[in-house]
Structures are given as C-alpha cells and as structure tokens.
C-alpha cells in the first residue's frame, strides 16, 4: 500500500511540477514555431516582428515575447541544468512564479535561481555562476520553477540577448485574449495571419510539456503499480490462506454445525478486507508522512496525493482483498466436514 500510494503521489507530483511554472505564466494562448511541441525538446525561434501582427488580431488584449533556453554548467562539483528565462520587467514577461529570498528583479549580470536547485546544487545568494561564458551573480531565490531534472532561472532581457544570441527574435509569444473572445477562433486567426507558427491553448501547452512524464514515467509507474498490486494481493492472500490453513479444523466445525459455504466465504472475505484495510490505513499514513517530510530532505521526492487518488486506492484495496480471498475460499470449499469427527 505504501508503494502504491507513493508511486501514485510521485506521478501526480512530478506531473504537476513539470507544468507548474508554465501554469503561472499569464497566457491564454502560446504561440510557437510550427513543429514545436514543448519548451524542452523542440526549439522554437520566432521574429520579434510577429508581436505587432498578433497584437493587431481581433480579440487579442496583450502579446508578450517569451525567451528561454536550457543551459548546463558546473558549480561546486555539481552538474547544473537550468532553463534560463529572459525576465523583462518592463512588459512583465518571464517573471518568476514567486520570489522567496533576495531581489525580485535581476539586474545586469544577475540571476535568480529556484530554491530547490539552490539547495541541491549548493547555490547561495551572492555566488557567481559561470553560464555560457557569462558570469552571473545570484541575487534571489524563487520557487515554483523546479522541474525535477532541472529548474527555471531568471536573467534580465539584455543578458538573455547575449546568452541566447537571438537578436530580433524570441522563442514564444504569450497571448492574453479579451474577455468573451473564443479561444479556438483566436488560435485559427493567429495561424491564418502567420502560417509558419503554431498556436495552442495554455492547457495544451502544459499538456505538451508534461507529456514526457506521461509517456515515459507513467508506463514505468504503471508497471511498478501492477507489481505493487500483485505483491499486495499475494501478501493479503497468503496471510489469509495461512490463517485459513491454521484454522482449517475450526472452519470444518463451522461447516459441520451448519454454516453454509456462502457464509464461510463471507467470513474469509471479511478477514481479507480487514487485512487489506489495515494495510490501507497503515500505508496511507506512512505515505502521507513521507509526503510531508521526505520532500524537505530529498527535493526530487515530489509527491502529491489527492483525495480522488485516496478514494481510488481504497477501491483498489477492496478489489485486491476480494481477489486475495480466492485461494482461501477454494481451500474452504474443499473441507470435508466429516473430518471434524477425527480427533
């Protein structure tokens, strides 16, 4: 049960983490280069001139360029992977989700890093980071930008232009629509106005960015979950089977004095349910404690268990308990009640 709960929590947690920063960016639509699906695996480069074209479309309230690039560097013996975002204070583009320490806006040669990266990679405020040939001084810590394997970091627009080397270009546009504007129509208008771009809703863009988790992590999680269910069912089944075998004479007595097979099955299923529910309560408690405590020691342990998952796992426990009763019930079915006369 602990394994099932933790795996479910990790899946939910990681899935949420992957989309967490994108979720915080104010946008109804993301405009990307045609063929680009997500921020991390398929690059997108768009001319800054598109901003005016998109701004002029019906229902568009606001358009902002969004520039970012993955970078890797070493710091205090750690390999650090970050997704650098150009934070343009003037048009409020590329803003960190939340600032938890230090300066809220990076100046020239300054950088704001995510607090989880800071912890795991031993990055402190005032540290100097050597990124893509440029020196950056850490001036602030943000949160909500950790994506498990890397994290978002924020530099100012001028520095970004130097690091990204994309003059007169950006990577994406975030578009806000006026109230009442039909999003599919706006998407269609953007694609119609600029044929070389693709436009997707914010949710679709989040889904595209978390697809990696769903498509690679989920099958692994599912296999582990199946193993967890099989092992859990086997443990309950063996526990009850052993109990039935130990008390086989007593079951025979019950059969002899007139308990029907159906009533005996009820006794076994009740025992199985009790074992399963004890496992569920203990497992849930341990998983909750791990969720609350382990994350602070191991930042990659991002677990999120929601009420629906708990209900689902409860249902799974019931199903496992019923399934686990099969062999003990078969054992009871074959008891010869006349055996009870043997002393």
């Amino acid at each position: 049960m602990v394994l099932i709960m933790v795996l479910t929590g990790l899946y939910r947690g990681w899935n949420d983490k992957m989309g967490q920063y994108i979720r915080s960016v104010p946008a109804d639509i993301w405009v990307v280069q045609d063929g680009t699906e997500d921020m991390f695996h398929t690059p997108s480069v768009l001319p800054l001139s598109y901003e005016a074209t998109i701004s002029g479309l019906n229902g568009v309230e606001d358009v902002r360029p969004f520039s970012g690039r993955r970078v890797a560097f070493h710091h205090r013996g750690h390999d650090v992977n970050m997704y650098l975002v150009a934070y343009d204070k003037d048009n409020n583009s590329g803003k960190p989700a939340r600032i938890v320490a230090g300066k809220p806006v990076p100046g020239e040669g300054e950088i704001i890093v995510d607090k989880i990266s800071a912890k795991t990679k031993e990055i402190k405020i005032n540290d100097a980071l050597d990124i893509a040939g440029q020196k950056f001084k850490v001036v602030g810590l943000s949160e909500g930008g950790d994506v498990v394997t890397f994290s978002f970091a924020f530099i100012n627009r001028g520095d970004a232009n130097r690091v990204f080397r994309l003059p007169d270009s950006t990577n994406y546009y975030t578009v806000l629509l006026t109230e009442g504007t039909d999003t599919p129509t706006a998407i269609s208008d953007i694609k119609g106005a600029i044929p070389s771009v693709d436009a997707v809703t914010k949710q679709n863009f989040i889904d595209n960015n978390t697809k990696l988790i769903r498509e690679t992590f989920l099958p692994v999680i599912l296999v582990l979950l199946i193993i967890g269910v099989v092992v859990g069912t086997a443990v309950i089944g063996l526990t009850i089977f052993t109990s039935v075998t130990e008390k086989i004479r007593e079951y025979g007595v019950l059969k002899a004095i007139g308990m029907s097979n159906r009533q005996l099955y009820g006794v076994v299923i009740k025992q199985s349910m009790t074992a399963g529910l004890i496992g569920f309560v203990i497992g849930s408690t341990i998983a909750m404690v791990l969720q609350l405590t382990l994350g602070s020691w191991v930042p990659q342990f991002v677990s999120q268990i929601n009420a629906l998952d708990v209900v689902g796992i409860f249902g799974l426990t019931i199903a496992m308990s019923v399934l686990a009763s099969y062999l003990p019930i078969r054992r009871i079915t074959h008891i010869d009640p006349a055996e009870v006369f043997k002393s």
Partner: protein
C-alpha cells in the same frame, strides 16, 4: 413416538474394486423424540462413519436418512447445511470450540449462523450456559476452561438452535470419568426434559447409565440392541415418576 431420524439400509463403501472397504453395511435405525441411543463397538467397527452419515456430513453409498421426515439424499449441500443448523446438534470428542471466541460466543455461533442478531444470540447463549452451570465462565476463552467446562460449552452450542437430534461422538473420551459422567448426565437429562433425541457413539460402557437404548455395531453391522439404565438415573424421569 414421532421419529427424529430414520436410517434405512445405510451403507458406506470406501474405495472400489479389490480395495473396496465396507465401513457401514445395511444399517437401519429409527430414533424417536426423547430417545437416547448409545452406539457401541470396537475401533474400526464403523461407529463414526455411521454417525457422519446420520449427521449428513457424509453421503452414503446406498440407503438413506430421513431427518424430521425429510430425505437427506434429495438435498443439495446448502440445504443439508441448513438442515444441520436447524435440526441437528453436534458434540465432538475434542470439543472443537473456536479458540479465538469466548465460551458465550462459541455457544452463540449456531444462533448467529441462523440469522439471530448478535446481541440476542449472546443473550440466549448466556441463558443456556447458565443452565449448564457455566454462568461464571461466559467470558473465558477455551484455553482457560477445563475439559468438562469445554464439553459443557459444546453441549450449549449443540442445544443452541433447539435441534430435534443431538449427535455425540466419543463425548467422554477426553474427560476424566467423574467429569464425563456429569456432562453426559447433564446432556441426557436436558435432552430428556426437552424431548430431544440423542445418539451417542462411544467406547465408554459407563454411558449405558444415561442411555435408553444401547446398540452394538461390529464390522459395520448392527448386531445387538439392549435397554440402557437411563430411566433409573435421569432426574427428569424421577420427577415424572413422583
């Protein structure tokens, strides 16, 4: 006297061909309400096999059993379970109490199995156990009871659903002679007072004192029937006589 059980030509053969063994051979028996029958015989004579068939725990190879007028051969396993629950009470040599349950809960099992609410079942079990002088031992687990007390709990369990017939297999075998006599006296006087039939299978010839009829079985066949001393010893009969 209305018959509680009628056995006609009961036969049980184990195995087949050259290895076939006839454990019970053409046994016919009629036991009426209030009758107390002791079946005696040497080891391997077929006593327990006969008792198993009379108790519908084993289907005969041929012949049949009528229990309270119902033909057991025509019943399904679940119907037989229901028949045993409501019409039969069992007492075993090794008591066969459920180790995790108290004396009161053990005595209440047949009632709860029959659908009586737990609280009511426990209440009725308490009354029955008090009749059997176990009022002080209601909450004791079997491991904390003496052999005689365990067998009295088993008697209470056998009597719980007010069965027409009580079947007892070597009920005194694990008891000392004094305790065995006391328990069986208690069972037989209770059965006599409530007009329940009792069939006892035993080696213990002292049980002739509580039986009305004594039947001998040898090599699977009933060979002799004689009168027991029940009437001389039963307090119920004495009371009626006075």
């Amino acid at each position: 006297m209305k018959s509680a059980i009628v056995a006609e030509g009961l036969t049980k053969i184990f195995g087949s061909g050259h290895t076939a063994v006839t454990a019970v051979d053409e046994v016919s028996l009629k036991v009426g309400a209030g009758d107390i029958v002791l079946i005696m015989g040497p080891s391997g004579s077929g006593k327990t096999t006969l008792l198993s068939m009379l108790g519908t725990l084993m289907r005969p190879s041929s012949g049949g059993v009528l229990l309270d007028g119902k033909d057991a051969a025509k019943m399904s396993d679940s119907q037989l379970a229901s028949l045993r629950l409501h019409k039969l009470g069992f007492i075993f040599q090794s008591f066969n109490l459920l180790s995790a349950l108290t004396a009161q809960a053990n005595a209440a099992i047949p009632l709860m199995t029959a659908g009586v609410a737990r609280k009511q079942a426990l209440k009725q079990a308490k009354v029955q156990l008090e009749k059997l002088h176990l009022g002080e031992r209601l909450d004791n687990l079997p491991k904390d009871l003496s052999g005689g007390e365990k067998q009295r709990v088993a008697v209470a369990r056998a009597l719980a659903n007010e069965p027409k017939l009580i079947l007892a297999d070597e009920p005194t075998a694990n008891l000392d002679s004094k305790t065995g006599a006391e328990v069986m006296q208690l069972l037989c006087s209770t059965a006599c007072a409530e007009k329940r039939a009792v069939i006892i299978v035993s080696h213990d010839s002292r049980l002739k004192e509580v039986a009305k009829r004594v039947i001998t079985i040898e090599d699977g066949r009933l060979t002799k029937e004689e009168k027991g001393n029940h009437d001389a010893n039963c307090p119920v009969e004495h009371k009626h006589a006075h």
